[in-house]
Amino acid sequence: MATTTQEPEDSDGPLARWTQGAIQNPERVYRALFYAAMVFFLVTTLFPFYWLAVLAVTPEGNLLAGSFLPTVNLFGVSGTFPLPVPKGFNPAAFVTVFEQVPFHLYMLNSFALAVTTTVIVLFVASLAGYVFGRLRFPGRALLMLGILAISYFPPAAFVIPLFQAFAGNEAITIPFTSIPLFTPPRLLNTPGSMVLPFSALFMPLSIFILTTFYGQIPDGLEDAARVEGTTRLGALFRVIMPLSAPGVATASVLTFIAVYNEYFFSSIMATSPEAAKWSPIVGGILSYQTQYTTQFNLMAAASIVGVLPVVILVIVAQERIVSGLTSGALKE
């Protein structure tokens, strides 16, 4: 509070007045606390992005020279400025990122993987969501519990057999026997090796979201569609799904973000971080860290570019994300 440093003119100084008011009206204290907390959260969540921007625009030559926390001299008192500031300004890094490694191709891979997974997940989860949301049958609770349980298991528990299978070297056998089933094609470094685990991993959340939404459609609408001339399955795709558009959108956005964010299978199944071998942005970003170890401005620029799609998605679709996480994830 800057005013406190001033010499109070009399006992009715601003601070005293504020305190007086605060005692009489505690609402003001809560208000002040509220804004202080809000600013704190905003600064802590957004600061890392600011730091990326500072690094990205700092010319490469200046990166290692001196500190990002400049010493400032204010009214004769010198001290360290508490915020990092760019050492110079050169936005060329945002162009160089695409030249040094084909970062746009990595992003394209990520998009392709995310879209494919989302389509598969939506289709399969729609069928399951319809079943769990609209049909009553024996075993329903148990099956939902099973799907729930599977979704909790760590990817590490699946990765070894999947990696072996996707390597395509030996036939898959029925567990605990040596009876061979078939020899899978080599899927490592192809979309299949990532889309399959992604689909299984992220499907349960979509199933639970869609179960909630599909369950809310009045029975009459489904019956009306069937009387009007759709099949049972047709009623799902022509009436129930379009009517649950918000739910479908929610499931899509969450699945897309989840795939785009995924690290574990993305880094393991694309054995070499090359864009041509379907490596997603994980590979793109890591190749800066491992190959161009001192070009920190490029790492930062690549990170900013890589994060833009999801930032836009969050701003555009935040209602859907909030409703999805609150309705679906809590159930999960």
């Binding site: 730091w51 399951a128 049958f137 567990p175 399959l196 049972r232």
Partner: protein, 308 residues
């Protein structure tokens, strides 16, 4: 397609679930069983053949005999109760990571949720800003904190080292420091997720209860203590368990910010060993799954039918 129309609800339900069964069967159930099977075999010393060893891999893990296959000086169980050997234990460090990060995420998430629960101008934008870290890809999250604490450009190490929180040099290769940074990174990214779950609980509270409390003369703090907190406690409980399960999987952020040899989480150990020591790796994976399974059982027992 006529036959489909005449199926009973039960038959129709199971028909439509076939794709789910196939997908989860192939990508989840089969690998899970197979992982367990692999954990019962060991590679011969010349790495050319495998043989059935029963639960030897598990025994080896818990006696420390398998520690030599783990990267760096990592052990599975801690070799002693000193701080450094605790941090070198894959099991302990995973649990430390999960407990500490989830604890802070819950507190911060609660704070964020309380703010987002208010009506104020620009709420939409504040909410978006708070959610954004949750949507940041793990590799970029890792890159951000790598750049923040990197010995060359990282500005954040010296001030925190002055406070004694981090090692002043070689920060990202120091287990304690790297763990601290990784926990901070996880809190940064995941608090918003907790906030949204808790917000859902907050918004399901009947607003009329607050009017009753106001009429009765309760202060804001009393309203929180007597109404808000007890009513959202079950939500927080589920959210904490759910997040703990996720936190136990930690891998990507470690791989990006530091390395699996420095911060040896359980998932890290699985990845680090599965190419050479399949049986050991599978045993670690299965122990991880079993621990998570226990937590999940907790959720299911606690939630009962509501969990579905």
């Amino acid at each position: 397609m006529r036959w489909m129309e005449n199926l009973s609800d039960t038959q129709y339900a199971y028909l439509l679930l076939i794709p789910v069964f196939v997908l989860l069967g192939v990508v989840a159930l089969y690998p899970l069983l197979r992982t367990f099977e692999l954990s019962l075999y060991a590679v011969s010393t010349d790495l050319t053949s495998t043989s059935f060893v029963g639960i030897d891999n598990y025994v080896g893990l818990f006696t420390g005999e398998k520690n030599r296959y783990l990267p760096g000086g990592t052990t599975f169980l801690p070799s002693s109760f000193e701080f450094t050997s605790l941090l070198n234990s894959a099991l302990v460090i995973t649990i430390i990571f999960a407990v500490v990060s989830v604890l802070f995420e819950t507190l911060i998430g609660l704070g964020q949720a309380l703010i987002l629960d208010q009506d104020f101008y620009g709420r939409r934008w504040v909410r978006a800003a708070i959610i954004i870290p949750w949507a940041v890809p793990i590799v970029i999250q890792g890159m951000i904190f790598f750049l923040m604490f990197n010995s060359n450009v990282g500005f954040a190490t010296p001030p925190l080292a002055d406070l004694g929180l981090l090692a002043p040099t070689n920060t990202l290769n120091d287990t304690a420091s790297a763990t601290f940074i990784i926990i901070v990174a996880d809190i940064w990214k995941t608090s918003a997720f907790m906030a949204l779950l808790i917000l859902a609980g907050l918004q399901s509270i009947d607003r009329g209860l607050y009017d009753v409390a106001k009429v009765a003369g309760a202060t804001k703090w009393q309203q929180f203590k007597l109404i808000t907190f007890p009513l959202i406690l079950p939500t927080i409980g589920v959210a904490v368990l759910f997040r703990s399960v996720q936190a136990m999987r930690v891998y990507g952020i470690i791989d990006t910010v530091s390395s699996c040899a420095v911060v040896p989480s359980l998932s890290c150990m699985v990845v680090a060993t599965f190419n050479t020591r399949e049986g050991t790796s599978a045993a670690i994976a299965f122990v991880t799954a079993a621990i998570i399974g226990l937590v999940v059982m907790g959720i299911i027992v606690w939630q009962g039918e509501d969990a579905i």
